[in-house]
């Protein structure tokens, strides 16, 4: 296990260096100067500004400096917001994004588990059919379509919940549902298959023979054993959530990294693009590593195999 974690960490660092290098050199290849209105400045003024941002040094020196700073979470200053540190800008936006992602994940997992278990217990009934239709909808329809439709029906037409913004819990409900639909559907489907398997196994038969009540069998024996493999799904789910959140944040105008990322791309603020890109990659890889470790802890068979 320890060796495995070290190996994974090495890959993460390597990947990050690769991403940082790629973004850095691509930015250097971009046409135009980072100085707005460069033609209006005199040569000496340009030199001064370039010296201030370290742009006068050879590219290789700039690269090493950037790489070194990036590993310390220092991504330079924003071009768009005068002299604001990119790391501060990103850090400010991290909170709402993390909260939204976590809420969506928890909502999706809990609701999905419940629905999946219900479908498995009432197998081949109308409930089961209804839930599997729901699961297909949740998996197929992109979160931003849900987001836009929820915003229209619930926010605008019915006026039950705020249309947009990030003030108070009520405002977080719609984006959470929109974003949580995909984890909900995935986990519901997964739990249903697992539960059906488990419910047919010998130890459930034994539990029934011992005279345990139906509830006890479902909650204590069947569901618990079906939950273990669900952990493997959290990684891919987190990846989807990160991608989805970028648009959902935009639709509901949530001040998260996703909307900042899009804004920075649309305004060509390369420093922020790079900063958010790196932060995103890092978050993703850490989540994937954590779920793998978690799985190893929960399921001893994985640990032994290593």
């Amino acid at each position: 296990m320890f060796k495995y974690i070290i190996k994974r960490l090495a890959i993460i660092v390597l990947t990050l260096v690769l991403i940082i290098s790629a973004t850095f050199f691509l930015m250097k290849l971009m046409p135009g100067s980072p100085l707005a209105n460069a033609e209006r400045l005199s040569a000496s003024q340009q030199k001064m500004i370039e010296a201030q941002y370290g742009l006068d040094k050879p590219v290789i020196v700039q690269y090493v400096t950037y790489l070194w700073d990036a590993l310390h979470f220092d991504f330079g200053v924003s071009f768009q917001f005068a002299n604001q540190e990119v790391s501060t800008l990103v850090a400010q936006r991290l909170g709402p994004s993390a909260q939204l992602g976590l809420q969506a994940l928890v909502f999706g997992l809990i609701a999905g588990t419940g629905l999946g278990a219900a479908a498995a217990v009432r197998r081949n009934t109308k409930t089961d059919t209804f839930l599997s239709v729901l699961a297909v909808l949740g998996i197929s329809i992109p979160s931003f379509v849900f987001a836009a439709l929820l915003q229209y029906w619930i926010g605008l037409k019915l006026g039950w919940l705020p249309i947009a913004g990030w003030k108070g819990f009520a405002a977080t409900v719609l984006p959470t549902i929109a974003l949580g639909m995909s984890p909900l559907a995935t986990s519901a489907r997964f739990i249903r298959t697992e539960m059906v398997d488990v419910l047919g196994s010998d130890y459930i038969e034994l539990a029934r023979a011992k005279g345990l009540s139906k509830n006890e069998i479902i909650w204590k024996h069947a569901l618990r054993n079906s939950l273990i493999p669900l952990v493997t799904l959290i990684g891919p789910m987190a990846v989807n959530l990160l991608t989805g959140s970028i648009v959902v944040e935009n639709i509901f105008s949530i001040p998260g990294i996703g909307s900042q990322f899009v804004d920075s791309i649309l305004t060509n603020d390369y420093q922020i693009i790079m900063g958010t890109t790196i932060v995103y990659s890092m978050m993703l890889m850490v989540v994937l590593l954590l779920t793998d470790i978690l799985y190893g802890i929960i399921d001893p068979r994985i640990r032994l195999a290593e």
Partner: protein, 343 residues
């Protein structure tokens, strides 16, 4: 106890001298597997309906090129701004397709107030520039499908080749190639897209390339795993013994035997490509303005949502139908190709 049989010379037939040449040849192509899969697919109602829905969508989207192309859909007409959807004849009584809109709480025939003749119907209404949404949806669907198909094709060619080489060569080549996959697949998709958009101009090619660059790893992994087991099989050994070249074994023996895995994987690549295209276009990084895709239509619709909800709902429903159909078909094909689900 067996009966005694009297054989005479007439019971035997002299074979031609060159019979050696094709005694090993299998004359009929083996179709039983595909037929079997087709039979099982037909049993799966959802998947079978999805197949026909997709055939319909593809035919309509591609056959409509003459009436819905970038020229026609870009035509603006400010006199028919934001007209609601209206279907001709009796169909015009379906709620939502009557051509009526609310003005100060009372229903008004928007077509009449815009001075449009009774014969002219915009099936899905018009947008803020007076463009026919029906034609834009046709065109946008086609662009979305094209992007998805180009991406899937690149994914297919590259992923399958990579997987076959990695699995076939084995040893150090395999280890190096797998490490590369591990690194590439841990780069978030969006990063790849953004980097590509920074370098290339946003457009069909850059989006397709971005999608292909992020999705080939799972294809390569799957193919490699299959090749690893397939290359130990006797038919490969037989082909080798008979002196087939590596290329021939790869193309003639491995690819057909991997086809079910590849097809199923493709069925999941296409909707994810459509999804990413829509996502990128939705946030304004995708298909550039004069063109349209389902993503850009959704984006426009979301902006006009408050007063003209049909502009959002129609592309959303169509995107939803396409995505659902692909997912159901993918599930159905996976079950149909999997011999373990044989009933």
């Amino acid at each position: 106890m067996s009966e005694k049989v009297n054989l005479t010379a007439d019971d035997f037939q002299l074979l031609p001298a060159d019979r050696q040449t094709d005694s090993d040849k299998i004359l009929k192509p083996s179709v039983s597997f595909l037929k079997d899969a087709w039979r099982r697919l037909k049993k799966n109602k959802g998947a079978f309906i999805s197949l026909w829905v997709l055939v319909f969508v593809f035919v309509v989207a591609f056959a409509s090129t003459p009436i819905a192309n970038s020229k026609v859909t870009a035509r603006q007409d400010v006199t028919v701004q934001n007209l609601p959807a209206r279907l001709p004849g009796v169909l015009g009584d379906i709620p939502g397709f009557t051509g009526e809109g609310k003005l100060d709480g009372t229903k008004v025939d928007q077509y009449e107030s815009a001075g449009v003749s009774d014969k002219k119907n915009y099936w899905f209404g018009t947008d803020q520039f007076g463009r026919d949404i029906f034609k834009r949806v046709l065109y946008g669907t086609r662009i979305s499908l094209e992007v998805a198909l180009i991406a899937t094709l690149m994914d297919l060619v590259f992923g399958v080749t990579y997987g076959i080489i990695s699995g076939w060569r084995g040893g150090k080549t395999d280890i190096v190639m797998q490490r590369i996959i591990e690194i590439v697949s841990s780069i978030p998709n969006l990063v790849v897209f953004v980097l590509l958009i920074l370098v290339m101009k946003p457009g069909m090619l850059s989006i397709s390339l971005g999608i292909a660059l992020t999705s080939w790893t799972s294809m390569a992994r799957l193919v490699r795993a299959q090749v690893l087991t397939a290359k130990e099989q006797d038919y490969i050994l037989a082909a080798r013994t008979l002196g087939s070249s590596t290329w021939r074994i790869g193309l003639r023996h491995l690819v057909p035997n991997l086809s079910s895995t590849i097809i199923v994987q493709l069925m999941f690549t296409i909707p994810s490509a459509i999804f990413f295209e829509a996502l990128l276009s939705f946030i304004g990084l995708g298909i550039p303005v004069p063109m349209a895709s389902l993503g850009t239509l959704l984006n426009d619709g979301q902006k006009a949502m408050q007063f003209y909800p049909y502009q959002l709902v129609i592309p959303a429903v169509i995107l939803g139908i396409i995505m659902i159909a692909f997912n159901l078909l993918g599930d159905g094909l996976r079950d149909a190709f999997d011999p373990r689900t044989k009933d």
